[in-house]
Amino acid sequence: MVKNFGQRSVVRFKSDVLIHISLDEWPTDVPLLNTFTLHEIEDGVIRPFWHIFLEPVETVEMVAGHFQSPLGLEEVIQSCDEALQKAGWNSKETVVAQERWFSFRYTNSTPNKYVDINFRRPDGATTTKIQIRRVIKHPYAPPVEEKEESVEASVEPALEEATK
């Protein structure tokens, strides 16, 4: 549950809004390993965020986070896979599988919902970098405006009656 409204940074792009969340607000259906810490950059740590896109026929909700782990690449991938499978993400598609770069997409029985997870450990790096995005797409149908004639038609008989 998102908490502490008004005490977080909000970034507005075009028809989308990015709201930073704290680690304890991370979705519970996407488990994080105990060895994960937030990806640290020169300016601080990159906090996870909730990003909402208002698209013509859908609202896309994405929660994303950048993490790092001291574990080796293969160990992190294996451990994450086990944790995600245990959490019900039982279908996995490999997007990229190269020497030091792996990307996978996990889905479950819920339609329009998936988790993308990228693992990187460049040659010489001291940590494995993990980027996780959980995406949910909510169908959207714009409300239909009522026609003016139907409003007038319903008013006319009443007016006629009143003026007799």
Binding site: S9, V11, R12, F13, K14, L18, H20, H39, E40, I41, E42, D43, G44, I46, R47, F49, H51, F53, V60, M62, A64, H66, V95, V96, Q98, R100, W101, S103, N118, R120, R121, P122, D123, G124, A125, T126, T127, K129, Q131, R133, V135
Partner: protein, 182 residues
């Protein structure tokens, strides 16, 4: 001998014939030119990328490589930090760059992508990279690196990465047919 006289008589006639041939050739050219012009842009696009595109792709890949720990992107050479700058090397390897770094790199990437689009109108990035000769795997990695960079730029907006610049990158990716940013 009347050679000189016969040459004098025939010279103007030859000139007339030559002029008629030239005019006929021009007329034929004008008749077929519209047909040629209509098909040639499509033929041109299908045949090759605009001059300079490869260089721009290489530059884009180099900047993406900075965001990806120095890895080779799309088969282009990875970014090599200077040997004598250990701090910068570790910064690149461990992706501990600053918001200012990302600001600068995204600015350059946007610049290169704009030029690629201008030079190859109507082509998606996948088409451009295919024409460049990248394998399917290399294309996937190139596009993923761009999407990753865009996401990183968004994520670091609160650290000072220019929101307009991050949005511009997103718009360029959409123009290039990289439509899913989530």
């Amino acid at each position: 001998m009347n050679v000189s006289k016969s040459v004098k008589v025939n010279a103007p006639k030859n000139l007339v014939v030559m002029n008629v041939v030239i005019i006929a050739l021009i007329a034929i050219g004008l008749i077929y030119a519209p047909t040629i012009n209509l098909t040639s842009p499509q033929v041109f696009r299908a045949a090759s990328l605009a001059p300079g595109t490869e260089g721009l792709l290489k530059q884009t890949a180099a900047h993406l490589s900075k965001m990806q720990g120095g890895e080779s992107i799309g088969g282009f050479p990875g970014f090599e930090p200077p040997d004598d700058d250990e701090k910068y090397k570790q910064k690149i390897k461990n992706k501990n760059y600053s918001a200012q770094d990302v600001n600068d790199w995204v600015k350059e990437i946007n610049n290169f992508l704009k030029q690629i689009i201008e030079k190859n109108p109507g082509m998606t990035l996948e088409e451009i990279l295919t024409k460049q000769g990248l394998t399917a795997e290399q294309i996937e990695k190139f596009i993923l690196a761009l999407k990753d960079t865009e996401l990183m730029a968004r994520s670091m907006a609160t650290f000072g990465v220019d929101t307009a610049r991050a949005l511009a990158l997103r718009e360029l990716l959409i123009q290039l047919g990289v439509t899913t940013l989530w």
